[in-house]
């Protein structure tokens, strides 16, 4: 049975529609990431799940029970806020014990439970400290411990890593994931960072403009993006605008083949997407989808190199393993191939993110 379900959820702020007709199931015990760019409605959706916003339409259910109109304080959902929202007038222990204290738990019992939770988030001995004495990472751990104190049915995290530096963020992503797996609690994380989502989530829901673009496992989302937007938002991708012609795709005068004939009418505008690691470089490549290109820039990233190429298909970026025998340099001419299996085809709708997608890590 699904722990949490959303059905037809909509949220309007005056004329503006923040969330539009979202229906989702959050499987019990899994970590789901709501991923999307700023303003896509992911935080609004999380706030509606938490009970901090009331949907304009639709229902929120937990185990079949409708909680759409149940106020936040009656939902028993733990939430970690972007700013952590720790109470500065309380000690670390009192912060963690807050939910228990206001519920009437005996002071000693609440303090003991708080200490257990602080042990869980590796903050043993920090109970008597003031919030102002903690680092960003420690604050985040306190926020997590505090949200877990009431043993929530659903654990919600709104951009929990955004206030941390890059190194700490990666460490905390792994730690949070291990903690979630240990506790087996249904968890929803809002993030705009695709690496964060890929690291932590069992399931990723990609959102754009208030709608769900795709829901699936990280591998499904990365290798089989449902839309050009998802292809651009998750990982890096080369976008090529073309026209369908007799089951093949014409791009810049080159006819590209696909594993199966394209299901588009001849003359339809389409968009082809290929990941940089999908492009093959060097001599002796298969004839299919093979062209020549000129190296315009080489970006050495250590284990791999990004080769920027000028081709008849347009500007492409190919990823080359650093252990390749031939080291390409700017100005070199090189044969490249786009294997049909590495190509993804979408209707020729304008894609908003091609430039940033190439630049994104």
């Amino acid at each position: 049975m699904s722990a949490l379900s959303l059905h037809g959820i909509r949220k309007d702020y005056g004329e503006a529609r923040a969330v539009d007709d979202i229906t989702l199931d959050f499987p019990d015990g899994q970590l789901t990431a709501l991923l999307g760019p700023s303003g896509c409605g992911k935080t609004t959706l999380l706030r509606m799940i938490a009970g901090l916003e009331v949907p304009t339409a639709g229902t929120v259910t937990v185990g079949g029970r409708d909680i759409t109109r149940v106020p936040a304080h009656k939902r028993k959902f733990g939430m970690v806020f972007q700013s952590f929202a720790l109470f500065p007038h309380l000690t670390v222990r009192d912060n963690v014990a807050y939910a228990l204290t206001i519920a009437g738990t005996a002071r000693g019992e609440a303090a003991a439970r708080a200490d257990t939770l602080l042990d869980l988030v590796q903050l043993t001995g920090f109970g008597d400290r003031r919030i102002g004495q903690l680092s960003g990472g420690q604050k985040q751990r306190v926020a997590i411990a505090r949200a877990l104190a009431q043993e929530p049915e659903v654990f919600l995290l709104d951009e929990p890593m955004s206030a941390l530096d890059a190194k700490l963020r990666e460490e905390m992503q792994v730690e949070l994931r291990l903690l979630q797996q240990r506790l087996g609690i249904t968890t929803i994380v809002v993030t705009h960072d695709q690496r964060e989502a890929m690291t932590m989530a069992d399931r990723i829901i990609v959102m754009s403009k208030g709608r769900v673009e795709q829901a699936g496992t990280p591998q499904e989302i990365y290798h089989w993006p449902a839309t050009g937007f998802v292809a651009g938002f998750i990982g890096r991708a080369n976008f090529m605008d073309g026209v369908a012609q007799d089951g093949r795709i014409m791009v810049g005068g080159v006819a590209l083949s696909l594993p199966r004939p394209a299901q588009f009418l001849t003359g339809s505008a389409v968009q082809l997407v290929c990941r940089p690691e999908g492009i093959r470089l060097g001599a002796g490549l298969a004839e299919v989808n093979s062209i020549e290109g000129r190296v315009t820039f080489v970006r050495d990233l250590g284990p791999v190199r990004d080769i920027y190429l000028e081709t008849r298909l347009g500007r492409l970026v190919a990823e080359q393993s650093a252990d390749q025998s031939r080291v390409l340099a700017v100005g070199d001419r090189v044969h490249l191939s786009l294997p049909p299996d590495a190509l993804r085809l979408y209707p020729g709708l304008p894609v908003t993110l091609p430039a940033t997608a190439l630049a994104a890590e």
Binding site: L52, A72, K76, A85, F87, H89, Y98, I102, Q150
Partner: protein, 323 residues
Amino acid sequence: MTVAAQIGPMAEVPPALRWGAVVNLLLWAIALLLCLVPFGLVLLISFGHKVEGAGWDWAFSSENYLRFFVGANWPAETTSLYLGQLYWSMRYAVVAAVLAVVTALPFTYLMTRQSRRAQARWLVFLLATLSLSEVFIVMGWDIILSNNSGLPMLFAASGVTDWLKDTGWFDVLRDWGLANPRNVKFKTSEFATVLTLSYLVWPYAVILLYPALSRLDPSLAEAARTMGARPWTVARTVILPAVRLPLMGTTLLLFVFLLGAYVAITVFADPSQHTTAVSIYENVRGSTLNAPFGAAQSVVLLVAAGAFLVLGQRLSRKSQGGA
């Protein structure tokens, strides 16, 4: 080469800096003069003595202070008339300041949760109300609470007075001094005095609380809600502790401001409940004309206010340390 040798002979101070120091000194001198001279004069005069029919004369006598604390006929007789007035000064100021802050707090909190435009409108409106003088405000409330033309008349005409009599509430109001045998009455009463004083300082309370409440992170209250806190629990355990210092500061500031209230007291308070401020005016410019005694009262009022401020500060420090 030593550092001193590198610097060379003592550098000349540029004329602009010299002039800057002189102007700075001058400004300090003017500020001290404006602050200390009036207070010094009041202090000096408080030790003088009244000359019947001829104003007052310089002296160094504690008779005015003795009169304040134990009465003019001490040791033959001890009276606490002026201590009583000081008590009413403190009582009105404390109650009205607390009432203003307690009512302004939820209003200001809700105001800060509105849109920026709505907040700006409210702030402009509240700042505009500050242009109203105490006299104007008291006149307005005098009309509203007047026995012949204000709320009592409306109560009588609309049947509320009869309803109060039927339900027994009229007797309760009489016990509270808010009714005469025929109708409800607000003048003179402590209720009307405190109400008007609170009204007088209410916009100040909002404006003083606004910065702290507008900076309050809304996610603090939301976090408490997600942990099972009801709205009142959120207010008690999160919002109030977060704005404890601004609350204390605002209350103390309004308290000091209200110690000097004059018009509202003379119009709404019973003469037996008049304050030190009214008595000071009577002595300095009114019927009694005893400037040295008025000055002594002023000094006592100032010292009492200072003591209250120190007490308030200590309390807030203690609560901060104990939190």
